[in-house]
């Protein structure tokens, strides 16, 4: 299947996530307006970052003077899963020029990567993920704009829990990932347990992430050794 056809397949396949991204985008627009960010700034944020959980995390610290270091670190931590998503796609983006990969990686997105694992081998993964990303980007931008536009209507509601939308997005990704993967869940369970333990003993955020992912990787390696003798 050509890159173009694969991109079209990505666009066609994103129906569910197009709608859910739209819903989260509306919530982000409302939350951004509540944080005092004006329309074009919020739209610029959505267009340039293109990450629901990272943008919600940034809003947590959106007060004058902006704590740039804290904002950058929180966005980096929440977005660090992109490093792992990128690593997971290493074997799947072959056959494209370096320039194309560098530019198109801008549209790397969780649901596109997760759903690409269950595709036939002949689908071009970079085309698919990029097509998926283009469609999700359209949903994200239009819904951010809609959320900003209707924010006034929601002023009377208590939106304190809306910042939990980020973890909800990640939970849907995790469930989709788990259901579409042939892997055993052991590494993920190990990561979750280690993260909880480290969190309980007041470990700093970035260490919780690094150590628990490392524990999951070790569990995965042990699993591989057992399966292949």
């Amino acid at each position: 299947m050509s890159t173009y056809q694969s991109a079209l397949l990505g666009i066609r396949s994103c129906g569910d996530y197009f709608i859910s991204t739209f819903m989260f985008g509306v919530m982000f627009g409302i939350a951004a307006a509540a944080a005092g960010i004006n329309h074009w700034q919020a739209l610029l944020m959505s267009a340039s970052m293109f990450t629901a959980s990272g943008q919600f995390a940034a809003l947590e610290f959106w007060h004058a003077p902006l704590p740039l270091g804290t904002i950058a670190l929180s966005v980096a931590l929440v977005s660090s899963r992109n490093i792992l998503l990128g690593m997971a796609m290493t074997h799947h983006f072959d056959g494209h020029s370096l320039k194309r990969r560098i530019v198109w990686l801008y549209l790397l997105n969780d649901p596109g990567v997760v759903t690409s694992f269950r595709l036939d081998q002949d689908v071009d993964r970079l085309g698919y993920v990029t097509g998926y990303g283009v469609a999700i980007m359209v949903a994200w931008l239009t819904s951010t704009w809609l959320g900003l536009s209707v924010a006034g209507i929601f002023v009377s509601l208590d939106l304190g829990a809306v910042d939990f939308a980020g973890p909800l997005v990640i939970a849907t990704m995790m469930m989709l990932f788990a259901r579409s993967s042939n892997m055993k869940a052991t590494p993920w369970i190990v990561s979750g347990i280690v993260a909880l333990i480290l969190f309980e003993i007041d470990t700093v955020n970035y260490l919780v992430l690094l150590v628990s992912v490392a524990a999951g990787v070790i569990a995965s390696i042990i699993q591989q050794h057992r399966q292949h003798g």
Binding site: D16, I19, S20, I37, Q41, M45, S48, T51, S53, G54, Q55, A58, A64, P65, L66, I71, A72, V75, A76, S79, S80, R81, N82, I83, L84, L85, G86, M87, T90, H91, R101, L105, Y106, L157, L159, A161, F164, A165, P167, I170, A171, T172, M174, M175, L176, S181, M183, P187, W188, I189, S191, G192, I193, A195, L196, V208, L209, G216, V217, Q224
Partner: protein, 99 residues
């Protein structure tokens, strides 16, 4: 109120950070790909990262947030439909505070 210059600097900084994570992982993976048996390990990584973020978030959550998370997980388990799961979760988050 945050001034415009600070806002633009913050947006540029955040966009750069996010793009670096997207590109960085891929190029780190390119360096590691020749290690035998690395592929299944790399493909387990996103799930590990999701769980490492989710577990502390749920632990810190209040009753509404935990209920919303439970609804999302159960909806995904039962229907495997992102729209239903997201809709139910967001409804609990938005309207849960009223009860």
């Amino acid at each position: 109120m945050v001034d415009q210059e600070s806002t633009l600097i913050a947006i540029a900084l955040m966009a750069a950070v996010v793009y670096l994570t997207r590109m960085g992982g891929y190029f780190i993976g390119l360096q590691l790909r020749h290690i035998a048996g690395i592929k299944p390990v790399l493909e387990a990584l996103p799930g590990c990262a999701f769980m490492a973020i989710l577990a502390p978030a749920v632990r810190q959550g209040n009753i509404i947030e935990i209920t919303a998370m439970a609804c999302v997980v159960l909806s995904m388990w039962r229907f495997n439909n992102v729209v239903i799961a997201t809709g139910v979760g967001m409804a609990v988050l938005i309207f849960g505070g009223s009860f």
